[in-house]
């Protein structure tokens, strides 16, 4: 198809879709409206189960099945990336050479690394109380480790993240989420039912029943998954070479 023909098709399709969308926008309830039936029910249900962060309650209790799917997508993507970015038959591994790092960068990275790591863990642990949770904290914790790559070099990073361990951690935490869900079936209530543990005291770390457990499983899964994802891409950039020595 020529570029011209493509632009014609695109213009026709885009114009039609735009017209449809704009017409729909004028049929929407006004921005900032007061009618949110599902949202109101979700807030009630969250408070009844003593989860201060209603979004966590939606994610890990009321619609925990969505989160199961979401976690599985993350797991699939990590597995897919491991398969797609594997070392093929015509490639070999080279050893990355250490590079000079400017001293201020090195100092900054090494000082910030523990702070970032602890922040990540804090965000995971307080998922049921304050904004954040397993997904957000997991990403922060995982990227914190990579400050070592900026501050020192690739080999230092490789020493603190044995990929095999992280892969097992990823799979085990995904399984832990499922096993917590299955416990509900075994107890005779329902899959992913938050009825097994006491709901605790509102606004404390141990409130919300199974919400903190699922949250922690997700936090660990996300942290491991991000580490593996980044490792696969970094491997391609730093280590894997074509057989004729070209990078």
């Amino acid at each position: 198809m020529t570029r011209r023909l493509r632009m014609i098709v695109l213009a026709l399709g885009g114009a039609g879709l735009a017209a449809l969308f704009v017409a729909a926008c004028f049929g929407m309830p006004g921005f900032g409206g007061d009618r949110h039936p599902y949202g109101d029910r979700a807030v009630h249900a969250s408070l009844a189960r003593r989860t201060a962060n209603t979004i966590s309650s939606v994610n890990f209790d009321q619609r925990a099945f969505d989160t199961l799917g979401e976690m599985s997508i993350l797991f699939t993507s990590v597995l897919g990336t491991v398969v797609l970015l594997r070392q093929t038959r015509d490639e070999k591994r080279g050893r990355p050479q250490p590079q000079e790092v400017a001293l201020p960068v090195r100092r900054y990275a090494l000082v910030v690394l523990p702070v970032a790591l602890v922040s990540g863990l804090y965000v995971i642990a307080h998922g049921q109380l304050s904004p954040g949770g397993g997904f957000q904290g997991g990403v922060v914790a995982a990227t914190a480790l990579h400050l070592l790559y900026l501050g020192a070099d690739y080999r230092a990073l490789e020493r603190i993240r044995p990929i095999g361990v992280f892969e097992v951690g990823d799979a085990l935490s995904a399984s832990a989420y499922l096993v917590t869900g299955l416990a509900g079936v075994l107890a005779g209530t329902a899959f992913l039912a938050n009825t097994l543990l006491p709901y605790g005291t509102f606004n404390t770390l141990s409130s919300g029943g199974t919400v903190p457990l699922l949250n922690a499983a997700i936090g660990m899964e996300v942290a491991c998954a991000i580490v593996i994802l980044l490792a696969r891409f970094l491997d391609q950039a730093v280590e894997i070479e074509e057989d004729n020595g070209k990078r």
């Binding site: 969308f21 926008c25 979004i55 989160t67 797609l84």
Partner: protein, 115 residues
């Protein structure tokens, strides 16, 4: 203008589509796909907004003291972000392999699959 936020979402979606269709670099195309997806975040969050409301987190406000925005769309958006980020990673790893096998990331120069 009570429809402006919705129109912004539509604008972002169509911009992303335009970028995808006219892209000359596959990495850029995957980025455009992420733009299309951001439209869904904007639309979802706009749908859940309540005038004068705050975040639906009760660690520092008393339940019932203030209106809160719809927590469901926020949870949906979080799910959506994770889905988008991971699929983007998957697509980027495919682009990486395309650049190795075809020696280019320009969609106009990929000639393997036709007819």
């Amino acid at each position: 203008m009570t429809v402006l936020p919705y129109l912004v979402a539509v604008w972002i979606f169509l911009t992303g589509c335009y970028g995808l269709a006219t892209s000359r670099n596959l990495i850029h195309a995957v980025g455009c796909l992420a733009v299309c997806q951001s439209a869904t975040y904007v639309l979802l969050l706009a749908v859940g907004y309540r005038a004068g409301a705050t975040a639906p987190v009760y660690s520092d406000i008393k339940p019932g003291s203030r209106p809160v925005v719809d927590p469901v769309v926020q949870a949906l958006t979080l799910t959506d972000i994770v889905v988008g980020a991971t699929v983007t990673a998957l697509l980027l790893s495919l682009v990486m392999q395309i650049s190795k096998r075809h020696g280019t990331v320009d969609p106009d120069e990929l000639r393997e699959l036709r007819g």
